[in-house]
């Protein structure tokens, strides 16, 4: 079957007008919005940082200076590696992993509970309550955490009033506010994939295991978790990617001494004014996240088709 035949079949099935519309819309989306911008960013990240008039001129050659900069630091620096940026990069990934695990631990019991209790008005209200925070602007959610964790925020004032502490605790600097805010922001993306899967789990399996005398933790370990694996891994993937790529929460809740990798990218684009370098850093973030997610999927034997269900 050759390509020409394929197109013929396609137009025969959809008619000329509809077929053209489908093809144009999909091609526009896939090629112009998804693929080409990524390729152009990749290309751009290998260019020198030049003023606009010199772009395309003789100086506009390929270079790996921006990637070199990320690993080795500015030429002539005291350290042989770019400790600052690499440190931030590593810390961002670790923190994103931490947030993911936190969310998983927090969400799994509720997802199980919701998934196993059949219908009922109370459950519906609970689901509604879950969704409402997700509709509130990301910035406003971060702002709420700042009110709570700020130096004169709710928790500090309460602890001061109760005499638990004598000086306000700087939750912002300790990144407590940041982790709480990030975990909060993506909690729904963890809960719904797991909930959807567990909902379809046959209850008889659990009852059978219980009848055979399995303790509750073994029921979870041997039946529920293996069954819910696609949901768990898709939730974890989304939370990890979104936390690692988060920008608003670190900007608002992050401590002054701890940057998020996206903030460095942001700085190269705005105050730093070095777009190719920002693009290079963004490529590094993208590739690393993809590698981590793919290897996690390989590890847990989950297909990409399971994501987004």
């Amino acid at each position: 079957m050759n390509v020409g035949q394929l197109f013929k079949d396609f137009f025969a099935k959809n008619g000329i007008g509809l077929g053209t519309f489908l093809l144009v819309a999909v091609l526009f989306w896939v090629v112009i919005l998804i693929v080409l911008p990524q390729l152009s960013m990749l290309d751009f990240s290998f260019r020198h940082h030049l003023p606009p008039p010199e772009m395309g001129g003789p100086k506009d050659t390929y270079t790996i200076e921006h990637y070199k900069y990320l690993v080795l630091g500015a030429p002539g620096a005291d350290t042989s590696y770019n400790v600052v940026d690499l440190g931030v990069f590593g810390r961002t990934l670790l923190a994103a992993l931490f947030v993911t695990i936190l969310d998983l631990l927090l969400c799994y019991p509720l997802a199980y509970y919701l998934g196993q209790s059949r219908g009922g008005g109370a459950i519906r209200i609970l689901v509604l309550l879950l969704i409402i925070p997700y509709w509130i602007n990301e910035i406003l959610r971060a702002f709420a955490f700042r009110i709570i964790f700020g130096e004169s925020g709710l928790i500090n004032e309460m602890m001061l009033a109760m005499g638990l502490i004598s000086n306000p605790v700087d939750f912002i600097r300790a990144n407590v506010a940041l982790y709480a805010g990030l975990g909060y922001a993506y909690i729904l993306l963890m809960i719904f994939p797991i909930y959807n899967v567990i909902e379809s789990l046959d209850r008889n399996q659990i009852e059978a295991a219980r009848d055979m005398g399995a303790p509750w933790w073994r029921i979870h370990w041997r039946i529920v978790i293996p069954y819910a694996k696609p949901g768990i891994s898709s939730g974890c993937t989304m939370v990890f990617m979104l936390s690692a790529g988060a920008l608003a929460a670190p900007q608002i809740l992050g401590g002054p001494s701890s940057l998020w990798f996206t903030q460095i990218i942001y700085q190269w684009f705005n105050t730093g004014g070095n777009w190719p370098r920002g693009a290079a850093f963004a490529i590094v973030l993208l590739v690393t996240c993809i590698i981590i997610v793919l290897s996690m999927m390989r590890l847990f034997k989950v297909k990409i088709g399971d994501i987004g269900k």
Binding site: K13, N14, G15, G17, L18, F21, L22, A25, V26, W29, V30, L33, I34, P37, Q38, S40, M41, P52, M55, L106, L110, Y113, R124, L126, L128, L129, I132, P133, I136, N137, E138, I139, L140, R141, F143, A144, I147, S152, G153, E157, M158, Y184, A244, G245, A246, L247, A248, Q251, I252, T262, I265, F269, W275, A279, A282, L285, L286, V293, I304, I307
Partner: protein
Amino acid sequence: MKTNNILLKFILAAYLVVFFGYLLGPLVVMSITAFNSPSFPKLTPWECLTFEWFDVLAHDERILNGIENSLIIGIGTVILSVIMGLAGALMLTQIWPKLRATYYTIVIAPILIPGVVLGISTLVFWDRISIMLGMSSGGILHNGIFLTILGQSTFIASYCMLVFIARLQRFDTGLTEAALDLGATQVQAFRKILLPFMKPAIGSAAVLAFLASFENYNTTTFTFGKFPTLTIELAQKVRYGINPSISALAFIIIVLTILGALAHEIYRRRQQLALANGAPVAAVSGGFQLPKIFRGNPAAIILVLLTLGGASTLWFAQSYSPDVCKMDVREQKRLIQEERIKAIREKRQLELQQKQHQGPDVFGGSKSAAPATQSPGKGAFGNVFDPGNLDKSGPGAVKPQEPTKSPGKGAFGDVFAPQNLDKAAPKED
């Protein structure tokens, strides 16, 4: 066994409380701060009930402008991403099986790509295109609204596509085939069969797309150019100085969200009721039978209560003025301030007296030589150490007064001069 059950239930209840406390607590706290009068959003100390932050919000040009931009961008994004998402979902059902997995990976990838990367790639790509075409930097390819719509649609279309795929899985292709057999054209079959079937999905995809566009920050922050959306404005406000008018905005958004969610819930209940009774939706929702919807429908009851509460609050806000309370608070603050100043003065005085006591010790070395000078010396210093003096002028201004009056000057020279004292003290310790 039974105690075990009770314990389990207790743990479950505690867990639910903690979970939903974490989920809803921040929103509640933020909403309440919108009604407290301090200019930094705080829950404690509670000062005065006030509605002025809503007033401040209503007169904030930047916020209003941001809402306008957000609406324009939101509508553009909805149109573009619903069309692309629908086309993408239909394409998935027809694509060559070997390409299917690759195609699915590509169109689902934007959900997983960090928003920052999407924003950057959109910005870079269209910047290069515009350079290639030789367009000026003010052209449409640099227009913030254009770029933001494209950047957001890249991933929002994937969300829409997921919604459509879910719906399409229940579509019976036999229907379209039957229509074609009966002589309908392709377009007719699409318009009269498939589109009506997809209508609910199109509605929910549009709502989803609009919400996602409205609250997007990561992508927009690179592409907005001269057209900051509401989210961008909010972020800038939150980062560089905050006041409770943001809480007021949050409160409004939360209330709207709850109302929307409740309305949706009521609608679903009605539909279910209609299905259960075998009657069309209209029969259940008729005006005459309205009270019926309250039966077994807590959402409707909550909605009505909320509306009543909102109306009475509005009425109250019209007549209420926090000025008196504010004056009180100001007065209290002034008193506290005064007390603090007083306390600081007393503390200084105390410190001073201690210094005075230390004075003779510092001169310990010369004590034996001139015990008699101590009292005249003290007399001379008495003036200098006067707390009032120090309070006003600090140690620096004390110096010039001192030597002229000191009777001990002849014997000790400058030994007693305070500046000496300062220098000498550490050495003698």
